[in-house]
């Protein structure tokens, strides 16, 4: 059978000693950076990208992917112990994880989230193995019209799904796309918006953009808030054993979470964060005792964490089969693929089966390594959480500067980090979400190229794009998403105004 052949190819590549070592290195570094509040998977991957420049492409990606999902494992540790999410998609885990820790059940919480993450991750990898070949077979028939429609859907979904203010989310996507127009136009070669800088003729360095927007602005916010770390309790192996009742209550939420995560992860534009929120909400609704949620219910941590890791693995499906990154971190991963000369897309699986399936196999091996790292060695990680932030962030700033400098050996890019850091901080103060900027930045030029090609093929008739079955359906879904989002915002706003009016009357 095909699947078995792919598994054999994959494990053959992933089990080579070099790849194994870098996988271990990746997941360890990922766990470490993920655990530090303020450095999400996105900043961790972009910061460590320069380290992989001199590696083989497959090895480099095995390591970077390890950093990504390792960070999601590590992020739950600080959610539980510190009440500070290590990465944005671990935020939901704080709700019940920290109360569990206050009740002295931190060990159980850490153990069960690790197991849930492992199961979610494993099911995500299985989904990747089963779905990717189907999508590739399908995608080979895609033309520019279909690509344009998928990307447009991804952009709108990224901007609207998790936002309370969809207009602001859309504005950030468009801002990202505008930043993406900087540099040479693909069809004519005309350099656009280079502001007189020679360095901008190749476009904005996306690592500088990502590091500035996410890394630097996050550091500024963290120092300004100067969060006091709460007391961290000791975690022993014995305290990690859950009771039989806790195991029984966790089984179904873990599998439901994995299903939710797999679905939202594979959908372009939505990602792990939204999957965790939905996983939590569903468990709360299905529970016969919803009042326990928020006070240390084990279902409230295992479902989001399972969803999170399933989504992280499933997010590789659109990136590797279509070349369309579904989330900001996947956008950075795709940038890494391109830097290493690998063009993700339907051809990747057929032309480089060793890379494609090797990566997929390494994901599962990495999840297995994380299971080992996070259960017997948990004490080590807990001790690392005690490093004060005040001595950590100067090191992170130096790493960011050195990393960005090495990408193109240019100090211009270091100054770009400065610019985007300030921009990111101001935008955050103005309550903008930053992830859509990066998605818009990466997808923008691809949307433009495919739109131009589609309009050339159909002689400027947009109706042709809407008339094709796949692109037409996707455009209709995009329109429905927009209408539904704005309708629900308007409804919420009207209700708010009415309530305020009632108060004014009293």
């Amino acid at each position: 059978m095909d699947v078995w052949a792919n598994i054999v190819i994959g494990f053959d590549t992933a089990l080579s000693p070099t790849n194994l070592i870098y996988c271990l290195l990746g997941v360890s570094l990922g766990t470490f950076f993920g655990m530090l509040p303020g450095i999400g998977s996105l900043a961790a991957v972009s910061m460590l990208l320069p380290i992989t420049f001199y590696l083989e492409p497959t090895t480099a990606l095995v390591m970077l992917a390890g950093v990504y999902y390792g960070a999601e494992y590590g992020g739950s540790t600080s959610s539980i112990l510190l009440n500070l999410p290590g990465t944005p998609s671990n935020a939901v885990t704080c709700l019940d994880g920290y109360p569990m820790s206050q009740q002295g059940r931190a060990g159980v919480a850490l153990f069960s989230t690790t197991i849930a993450s492992f199961i979610g991750g494993t099911l995500g990898v299985i989904a990747l193995y089963l779905l990717a070949p189907l999508i590739v077979r399908w995608a080979l028939a895609f033309g520019p019209a279909e690509y344009f429609a998928i990307m447009l859907f991804g952009l709108v979904a990224a901007a609207t799904v998790t936002q309370d203010a969809p207009a602001k989310g859309l504005a950030m996507v468009v801002l990202g796309m505008l930043l993406g127009t900087v540099g040479a136009d693909i069809t004519s070669g005309v350099p656009r918006f280079h502001f007189g800088f020679f360095e901008l003729r190749d476009g904005i360095n996306f690592i500088a953009l990502a590091m500035g927007l996410f890394g630097v602005s996050e550091i500024i916010l963290s120092i300004a808030q100067s969060v006091d770390k709460p007391f961290i309790q000791k975690v022993t192996l014995r305290s990690m054993v859950p009771t039989r009742d806790e195991v029984r209550r966790s089984v179904m939420p873990v599998f439901r979470g994995a299903g939710i995560g797999g679905f939202f992860g594979a959908l372009p534009g939505t990602g792990p964060s939204i999957a965790t929120f939905i996983g939590y909400a569903i468990e709360k609704r299905l529970s016969s005792t919803p009042e326990r949620f928020g006070k240390g219910a084990i279902e409230g941590i295992v479902s989001p964490e399972s969803a999170n890791n399933a989504a992280v693995q499933a997010a590789f499906i659109p990136t590797m089969t279509l070349g369309i990154p579904g989330s900001a971190t996947m956008a950075v991963m795709m940038g890494a693929l391109l830097i290493h000369g690998i063009q993700p897309g339907p051809q990747l699986m057929n032309q480089n089966p060793d890379i494609f399936w090797g990566l997929a196999a390494s994901f599962w091996i990495g999840n297995l390594l994380l299971l080992i790292l996070n259960i017997p060695l948990i004490g080590l990680w807990v001790r690392m959480l005690k490093i004060p932030y005040g001595v950590l962030y100067p090191a992170v700033i130096c790493f960011i500067c050195i990393g960005v400098y090495t990408v193109r050996t240019s100090t211009f890019d270091v100054f770009l980090v400065l610019f985007f850091g300030l921009m990111g901080y101001v935008l955050r103060l103005l309550r903008f979400e930053l992830a859509p900027i990066l998605i818009g930045f990466i997808l923008g030029p691809m949307v433009e190229e495919n739109f131009k090609r589609a309009m050339l093929i159909y002689r400027g008739d947009f109706g042709e794009i809407m008339g094709r079955p796949i692109s037409g359906t996707l455009l209709a879904m995009t329109a429905a998403l927009l209408v539904w989002t704005f309708w629900s915002v308007m409804r919420a706003r009207r209700r708010e105004i009415r309530r305020e009016a009632r108060w004014a009357d009293d």
Binding site: L175, L178, P394, R431
Partner: protein, 148 residues
Amino acid sequence: MRKVDRVDLLAGLLVLATGVYFAVGALEYRMGTITRMGPGFVPFWLGVIAALLGAVIAATALGRAGRLPEFAWRASGSVLGAILAFGVLLPLFGLLTAAFAASAISMTGNPAAGKRLILLTSAAITLICWTVFIATLGLPIPVWEMPF
């Protein structure tokens, strides 16, 4: 006085201005036709969309109250200053000086850090940077330069 959410008002105006800037800038490039779009076509319309979204954001700010959050001058100044120092010092003096300066400057953003802690931490970080990036990875970065 009418109620205004200053955060969203400022946010909207900022997006509006950015959109207008790009739309006007795009006029410098050839527009082309819908069938054969020139380099100016997509940026122009993206700029227009951004301007419209900015107007919508600013409009929703009217009728509800909201105060601007405080800008953290010390934290942002120290972090951004550190990056500036790194970018300026690296080509002149090399990695060791640049990393030490960046670390020390960034630590001034933490009011609790004393001189001793700053110097010791920065020295340690410089050593770590050298060990990781130069000794282990061998990245092509100037280590020690003297411009004079």
